[in-house]
Each structure stands twice: as C-alpha cells, then as structure tokens.
Subunit: 345 residues, 2 copies
Amino acid sequence: MAQKVKLSTIADELGVSTATVSLALRDSPLVADVTRNRIKETARDLGYIYNRRAASLRTSRSGIVGVCVHDVMNPFYGEILKYVEHELDRRRQTFILSNHYDDLSKQRAFVDTLLQLGADGLILSPAVGTPAADIKLAEGNDLPTVLIARTIEGAGVCGFRGDDAFGMALAVDHLIGEGHREIAMVGGTPQTSTGQDREAGWRTALLKAGIEPRPEWRIEGPRSRDAGFQAALGFARLERRPTAAVCFSDLVALGFMYGLARAGLTPGVDVAVVGYDDIEEAEIATPSLSTVSNGQAEVGHRAAGALLDRLSGNPASDETVLIKPVLRMRDSSHFAGRLPLGTSG
Amino acid sequence: MAQKVKLSTIADELGVSTATVSLALRDSPLVADVTRNRIKETARDLGYIYNRRAASLRTSRSGIVGVCVHDVMNPFYGEILKYVEHELDRRRQTFILSNHYDDLSKQRAFVDTLLQLGADGLILSPAVGTPAADIKLAEGNDLPTVLIARTIEGAGVCGFRGDDAFGMALAVDHLIGEGHREIAMVGGTPQTSTGQDREAGWRTALLKAGIEPRPEWRIEGPRSRDAGFQAALGFARLERRPTAAVCFSDLVALGFMYGLARAGLTPGVDVAVVGYDDIEEAEIATPSLSTVSNGQAEVGHRAAGALLDRLSGNPASDETVLIKPVLRMRDSSHFAGRLPLGTSG
DNA sequence: CTGAAAGCGCTTACAG
DNA sequence: CTGAAAGCGCTTACAG
C-alpha cells in the first residue's frame, strides 16, 4: 500500500484544517454542509481509515467493552452473550471476549489487557475464588464492572443472576409432586455461589417434604456434558438408585441422559431427570428435558444495559438483581414411570 | 482514583528520564540492573498501568488479533477457537472475537473495527458470499489474513480446511459397506464451499457404487441442531424412507437423532446416521455418533501458527491446506439393523 | 548507561 | 463557520 491516509492528508487535499476534517467526519453541526460533503467524499475516495488508537489516546474513550466468562462454548453463557452482543452492537461498542476457564490468573491477565487498552467497561462472570479486591482494582482504574451469573460478596458492583435456591427448589418440588422420594443432585461445586445456592435449594426442598437426603444422593463435581455422562454410568450401578435426579445444569443433564441410555436405562422412564438453565437444546432433546429457565435473555440484556447506562454517566448501582426462575415441565420428568417414551404430545 | 500514573510519574519520582523508564520496563539491556529494579519496584508501588494505545500509536503494533467465525456457540468453531486461543495466548496476543452469522455487513463492520484499532492480523472463516475483494482490502491495509474452515477463490491468502469431498465420500462408502443402498444427505447449502464439496462427495460416492441418488434423498438447508431435529420429523414420514443418512455436521446429526427418536424411530437401528466434524459430544451421544473427524485441532493450531509466523516477518503464503479427514465408526451406523441398542461396547 | 526532543494521529478549547 | 496549536502517553533515534 502507498502512504497511509490520515486526517491531514484529507485536509491538505482540500486546503482545510485537520480540525475541520475531524469535525466533519463526526457530523458536527459546526461544519457547513458543503464542506462536510466534500470532506466525506474525499475521505471515501482516498480510502481513509479512522485511527481509533489516536482518537482514544486523546479522548480516553475506547469504545471497547470486555466480556469474560467461564467458557463461551457452554450454551448457557453462549446464550447470555448473544443478548449482550446484540445490545453492544446497537450501541456501536466493540466487544472483546475471553474465557477464563475458572483460572484466576487468566482472568487477571484479561482484565489487565482491558486496562491497558483503556476499555470502557467489563461484563464479568467471575472465576471461582475471585476476591472482591480484583473487582475494586478494575473499578479503581476506571473500568466499570457488571457481574453476571455469579456474584461476589462485597464487590460493590451491580450484578444479574437467577435465584438459584428458589429455582432448584422448584425442580425438586415438581419431582416430589410426581411421586418421587429419592432424588439425587448431580453436579456443581460448593466453590461458586451458583453451586452452593442450588445445592441448598435441593436440600431445603427435600427437608421441607420430610425427606432426609442421603449422602450418596449428592454427586458433586460435574459441570460439563461429558462429566454428566460419566456420572450417569456410576449412578446406574448404584445399589439403591434414586428414582430421580436434578442436575446442576442442562449440559450436565443432557450428558446424564446420554449416560443413562448408554447404561441401558431409559431417561424419563427408569429415571426422571431435570436440568437447569433451559438452553435451546432442552426442548428438542429426546426425551425433551424438564428444566428451570434461568433468564439468559434477561441477564444478557440487563447487564449490557446497566453497563451502557453507566457509561453514559448514570450513577452506579451496587445491587444484585435476582431473576425469578420458571419451571419448564417436559417429558424427562413428567411421565416418568407411567408412559413409554414417544407417546407424549 | 487519584492522578493517573504514567511513565513520567515514575521518572519524576526517581529523577530519571521517561526514556529510561520505558526501556527498563521492557527489560532493555541498555538499562543498568540497579536502575531497572528501582524502576520496576516504583512502577508496582504506584500501580502503574501500561498504556497500550499510546505505545501502539507510536509503534503501529497493537498486539491484537481478530477472529471472526459464523458462530462461536457452534462446537465445531468453538473447538477450533480453543486451539487458536491457546496459540495466541502463548504469544501474548490479545484476541478479539466476533460472530458474523453469515451476515456480510456484520463481518465488514468487524474488519473495519480491526483496521481502526490497528490490529496485527485476522483469522477468518468467511461469511457466505464474501468477495475476494474484501480480503484484499484487509491485506491492502496491513491486516494479514488467514482463512479457516472455508476458503475463497482468488483471495490470495493462505487457508486451512478439511478435504470435504473426500471426507463425505468416506462416510458414504462406509454406509454402503454396511449394506445400505438408499442414503440421504441432510443439511448444508450450495452457497458455501463446504456445502458444495460435501454434497459432491456424497453424490460421487453413490454414483461410483452404481447408485443413482433420488432427488428426495437430498434434504438441503439444515445447519443447526434444531434444523436437524425438524428435518428428522419430515424424514420419518417419507413414504420410501432411506435406510441411512449422512449429515452435513455433527450438530445436524445429533438433532436428527433426537428427531428420529421423537418420531418413534431408533437411530442406529431403524436409520443409520453419520455426522461430520467429530465434535466432543459425538462420542458420548447415545447411540454414539459415527462421524468424520475434521481436524479442528490442526486447523486451529496451524492457522494461528501461520498468522504468527507472518507477523514475525516470514513471507506470506497463498496456499490452501487441505486436512485429510478420518472416519470414526461408532454405534449410530455400525450396528444398524443388527443389534439392539445398549448391547454394544 | 542515561537524557532531551520529536512524533505517532487524533480532538479540543480558543481565537478569529 | 474555520484554523493554529497544544496535548493524550508512549517509543525511538540521536547525542552525550
């Protein structure tokens, strides 16, 4: 390529100042219509490319928002991100994505990069063990932060997530209503607020129904499809196998159903299964997966909205918004032990 | 926060010049050890944050690589990106991700953003209909580009993808070997090189075996799990239903199997199914999904490697590298019509 | 081994 | 309505 085209190239070409060119390209009313049109035309003809680094150095606004989650391949996060992306697109913000895989040092490296780039904001689903100080560091260096899916005690920023204890109780109550008395919980760890709250919801709902959960009903750990699959292989061999299982997530539940089938059991008939999140796949899985909707759309929209609001100068909030989950009854739990598969509507 | 800490803050604090501070922080051997250590310590104490915008404006290197694919939630792309991410991480490059959803204007907006940010390179799985001129525009503005998964005639850049025609022929040959004579192909569109090549592989393999594909065997369109599911519902009702189906992707195949089951058919017994890509889920699906491995790891690694090589000054190549696919035989096709499910190893 | 100075390409008061 | 000039925070010859 030839010489780089910059504001002054255009200015020289037309015999005006760079100030005028700058204003014209950003549609300032200070510039006369004729001038603006000539400038825009020339910019196009010369193949001018706006240099955001230079502009951002001057204005200390970068137009960049960072987004960091456990893993974008997990449909739960993927679905949230769709909505975040949509909202940021509308406001012409560039978004930079990173997975942290619950590795604190990876998350820190990313936040550091954002600070170095002068990013305007951060939407974060914090890695396991993130201290409140990490959030304060970001905020203290002019990086407004909004939390999603998980929240942190004392971080002092706003966050959006589902009411996990309530949601898991919905799932358990439903299974009890279907006649189950032995209900396992598969997956999740007590290291995240999500894991703690969902386990608490499961335990509390059982106790409230007068059922004492047996230790072997709690299968801790699985958070992926594959781990759910592996858990089912063990579950199938349990001497006194529970008749139902609530899973930490739909991903775990879908893997769990694959695993049950692999072990020769029919999910929804031999074992009732309920997931969590209501990802898109839940509806087409066969049997279709009963689950608890976890408000991905609302989390994504509102988190992006809250951040953008703050970027336009509105005061910061430090409120954690709990979104009410809703039970979605489907075939994996509803007809358990009563009808064969494929006969439902 | 207080005053922003910059190079000159540190320089003033220690009574040295900003040049020395700059050199010291980047470990230049020009700076004496004592000086360097004092500088680094002070930088840490003051909470100095490197301003990459300013540096990049000066050096015209940004450390940013853009990555743009159809949809990161699609595990095929997700798996490629894992490897790209890993490679870029190792070389301390920031990567910016975007979906284009096969929307050319979204892709263009992203490339434009990269140009404005002075990104160092682009890894692209081009949207349907991307003209070679779009790639040349990027290249012409100092944005080296590497293509993945799909390639573009005449773009003059290097690319990495699977040998789709060969791979699909492997799948069809396998089914013919299992005794099938009526083999549908579900999903994909002739608007992408991938769609064309896989359809050609299917058609050619059938003809070579003396089988004339009937028009209704070609179910064009589906490229998502949900579309695969819907297609199966129609497929199940076909008057003269093929005994086997090769699918455009594993995602389509997995949805297709859900759909068959929903329609009361047993995938792998009533209908043999083969996918394409060999995503992680293929192995745990039940029945496990026969498929064609599509080299996500190799595509991701080599594409990132090729780009980074070029960034370190190596000459550009314009070669398209075809990665040889491998058939993975599993239960969804291998035991069709012979054994009931769940009895296999 | 260290410092003074120019410059990367913008935007923003300020003056006219 | 337009222009001259300063400055955002770095890096890089160049001089010493």
